[in-house]
Symmetry: C2
Subunit: 279 residues, 2 copies
């Protein structure tokens, strides 16, 4: 990408600076000038946005081993250049959109539906409801978030606010260390993991005003679904879904705000998404 002379100069400069002790390792950060680093100081105290005191990452690290929906292809991450050889380090990413923590845009299942790049950004900041079905999931991997679960959440927390993002916490992410158990195929190659009941999805669309739903599993529908009923209900209504979300178990049932850093490539049916909860 650059001439050998330029790269030689870059390497010389890097070596000089690294000898001066400002190498960019996180561990070395505490040694940078002024002694105190933003990350260990108080960057959260100064943003003008207020009403929160912590941030939770709702995103898994995407690895080449991260499980994908059966029939799909796992992500490939290939080194393109290295500092030693080229002066800078880069990788090539080759992945299907629906990999890792990711968004399903309406266009994933709706002809003429919005692609991810077209979703108004106002839908990416939303009050977050977390519906915990981990207790029933423990005894039955085919458990679903039902209308009754939503109503029970509302009994405890009040009616879902307009523009809410509704997440299922099933505890399933604890299986990610064993990808096969995350997909959980039976002898007939049917998946078994929790999801949203299509009737609950219809309730959220017809009786409440949501921006989208999210799950900590591979699919908005439960694994054994044969008809993608929840996908169809949510996405053909112009709402989005997030799949393979992380750390939902650390959130309160109500009170968090989700920020959805969704994909923005043209014609996106979805794609890798960086999502945070502000608390």
């Amino acid at each position: 990408m650059c001439s050998p002379e330029v790269m030689a100069r870059v390497r010389a400069s890097l070596n000089r600076r690294q000898m001066l002790g400002i190498a960019g390792t996180l561990g070395a950060l505490a040694l940078t000038p002024r002694g105190v680093l933003a990350q260990s100081a108080t960057p959260m105290a100064t943003p003008t946005v207020s009403g929160f005191s912590s941030i939770v990452d709702l995103t898994h690290t995407l690895t080449q081993e991260f499980p994908v929906f059966p029939g799909g292809v796992q992500a490939e991450i290939t080194v393109n250049t290295t500092i030693a050889e080229n002066g800078f380090y880069t990788n090539q990413l080759n992945l299907q959109e629906h990999t890792g923590t990711h968004m399903d845009a309406p266009a994933h299942f709706a002809e003429g539906g919005a692609t991810a790049d077209m979703i108004p950004v106002e839908q990416f900041v939303a009050p977050m409801a977390v519906i915990d079905i981990s207790a029933k999931t423990e005894s039955d991997p085919d458990s679903q978030v039902t209308v009754d679960d939503i109503l029970a959440w509302e009994d405890a927390n009040g009616e879902l606010p307009a523009g809410a993002f509704v997440a299922m916490y099933s505890g399933w992410e604890s299986r990610l260390s064993d990808p096969a158990s995350f997909i959980n195929l039976d002898g007939d190659d049917v998946q078994h993991y929790p999801g949203f009941d299509p009737a609950a999805a219809a309730f959220l669309i017809e009786e409440r005003e949501i921006v989208g739903i999210g799950v900590d599993t591979l699919s908005l529908d439960y694994g054994a679904s044969q008809d993608f009923g929840t996908h169809i209900t949510i996405l053909t209504a112009g709402r989005y879904g997030l799949e393979a979300m992380a750390n939902l178990g650390t959130l309160p049932a109500s009170g968090a705000t989700i920020i959805v850093g969704g994909p923005k490539h043209e014609a996106a049916s979805g794609g890798p998404t960086r999502a945070f909860a502000l608390l």
Copy 2:
């Protein structure tokens, strides 16, 4: 990915629902049950996070034509499946990490530096300073953000707050409709566009406490740089950069909060990033 019978059932269900008028186009959204949609209602009124009234997308749509640093390869977005043929629509993404609006992580130039997936999320919510050098850029494409520009910003807005994200607004994005003029090569294949002066970068690292810097051009360094001086200064100090940012000209010099939806794949030297400003 699924049996033909399952997909036939999906298509039948989709057709039935679309006939019922709940196709997922944005235009059709106003016709969904309850008449009022979250996106056109007041989703911003209800998040518990407060102190802002609007959200600005700082991200360009990544297209296959989006310009890349000379020598790089443009993004490839290839249709994998379609609703008509497969029941659902998906694409394959093949892209180098430093494509479109994207992050440079410390590891991009610092041996042993943090990869993007390792950066603490607290650094992704930050008070935002926008330094407008568009006036001098108009007459000189080799303009840089200098220490004097930073001090002039501070004269008007007060000292940069701890944990700030400092962005250069040069007006360069108006050239994106003509990718060649965005890269702006001269007869000797040297690029000409604005960036941060390495001395200004050193000032931000040594005299202020920043989380990162951003530009509306292809590089943290100005195009004619021969030594990546600003990249090296920022990244070897463990801070991150954002390149090819959008809509910086719509922001106030001070008062916005940036949310950085950075990439989270393993060993990331950087990658496509969805960034927002809350105002």
